[in-house]
């Protein structure tokens, strides 16, 4: 028999505690992460992936990461975290490396 014994209550928005940022690194490249205020995510600049922060808890699992579209705005320190499903774009990038 399954008995639910948890009380569901609506949390107030819990913000991310920045003091742990110096302990955290990207799970794939092991390089430091950058906190991006507008998208509320942690950005790994070396591999261009952003990890979301949900309810104040950062999700640093590789499959949760989203590719950041590399455009000029990335150079100014603000990234646009949007997933790009275009396969041609990925082929272009591999030819660069």
């Amino acid at each position: 028999m399954v008995r639910l014994n948890r009380v569901l209550f609506k949390d107030t928005v819990i913000s991310f505690n920045k003091s742990i940022l110096d302990m955290l690194v990207c799970p794939l490249s092991k390089q430091p992460l950058r906190f991006c205020e507008e998208t509320n995510s942690l950005i790994s600049d070396t591999i261009g992936v952003s990890f979301p922060i949900v309810d104040g808890i950062p999700c640093l699992i590789p499959q949760d990461g989203k590719i950041i579209e590399t455009d000029d705005t990335l150079n100014s320190g603000k990234g646009e975290a949007s997933s790009s499903p275009v396969a041609e774009q990925s082929k272009e990038k591999t030819s660069d490396s």
Partner: protein, 336 residues
């Protein structure tokens, strides 16, 4: 500079993987860079742990006993551990039973499942006021997102036996430790649920004429010591404890496993167990192992592993030929 170039090359590879294998696990590289053996389906394990977060009872005798045993080892050390990491498994029990042991000030709870962490965070509000500052991150033990040399203590209570690459996870834990940092791990050993294994195999053979693995492969005690040494820990220590839990029926055992998040997550298994086979397994279990009062026992063998990150202050074997006392002298001393 070399690191930047290597990271860029690796990054291009990862981006390609993210694009092409969008909905698949990033370790499924298709046999290119790391053909890792995928015994366990980590994505399924994550979902099972999400479910377990809701089914979990606030007091589970088995999990509490293991966590208590693990945390007790902190009392054996004179050292205090200000920064600690608690990885997966029964992290909630560890947090609840900590009671200020080990001198922990900053605790980071890491788990694959978001719901599990949320449950921990809610449970923390009911704990008596402590001086421990807890932070939560969602992370995978195989891809540890922690800075090198940042932790004094790494605890993993019943979580590492679901990793595909146990050695890799332990190596990453060691790297996250500061010099003279401690690693405490508890994993389920090979004797665990041997009664269930036997009952399932017999039922399967009777009903379906073949055997399919129903229990995950578990580490043997002799392997644990090897693992610690290969991961590079110094002063390794392994010990084993067997817990026998009694249940009223086989169904209760399965429910308990579900609430701990320990149900089957093998990649190779056909997910659904046929109804007749399941009933047959329950009946065989009760007839083969049932006690006189109708309860059935289940064995849980827990292997406790301890290891330290190397530090100059730790004792080491002296060099050969540097002895200053001979055995003959010792014999004279003790009147042998």
């Amino acid at each position: 500079m070399y690191e930047m170039r290597a990271a860029k090359a690796a990054s291009a590879e990862w981006r390609r993987i993210f694009h092409i294998h969008k909905n698949t696990f990033c370790t499924e590289i298709g046999g290119q860079q790391n053909p890792k053996l995928k015994i366990f389906d980590r994505h399924l394990k994550r979902q099972q742990r999400d479910r377990a977060a809701w089914l979990m009872s606030s007091k589970d005798t088995l999990v509490d006993a293991v966590a208590e045993n693990l945390i007790d080892r902190l009392e054996d050390c004179k050292k205090s551990f200000p920064t600690a990491l608690c990885m997966g498994g029964s992290g909630e029990a560890v947090r609840r039973l900590l009671n200020g042991r080990g001198g922990i000030e900053k605790l980071t709870m890491m788990d694959m499942s978001f719901d599990m962490l949320r449950t921990c965070r809610d449970a923390e509000k009911t704990l008596p006021e402590t001086t421990v500052e807890t932070s939560y991150i969602v992370g995978d033990e195989e891809y540890l997102p922690l800075q090198e040399r940042s932790m004094d203590l790494v605890i993993s209570c019943l979580g590492l036996h679901w990793t595909n690459d146990l050695l890799g996870a332990m190596i990453q834990s060691r790297l996250a430790l500061k010099p003279d940092g401690l690693f405490l791990g508890a994993i389920l050993g090979g004797e665990t649920l041997k009664e269930l294994r036997i009952a399932c195999t017999v039922a399967h053979m009777e009903r379906e004429g073949g055997i399919s693995p129903r229990l995950s492969p578990l580490a043997q005690v002799r392997d644990a010591g090897n693992l610690l040494t290969r991961a590079g820990f110094s002063l390794p220590g392994v010990d084993v404890d067997e817990y026998t839990v009694r249940y009223k029926s086989a169904l209760e055992l399965i429910e308990h496993l579900r609430s701990m998040g320990e149900t089957n997550a093998l990649s190779q298994t056909t997910r659904t167990l046929k109804r007749e086979t399941a009933l047959a397994a329950a009946a065989i279990y009760e007839s083969m192992f049932g006690a006189d009062d109708g309860t059935i026992p289940a064995t849980f063998q827990v292997i406790f592993m301890t290891g330290w990150r190397e530090h100059s202050s730790q004792q080491k074997a002296k060099q050969r030929g540097s002895a200053t006392v001979s055995f003959a002298d010792l014999q004279k001393q003790f009147g042998g």
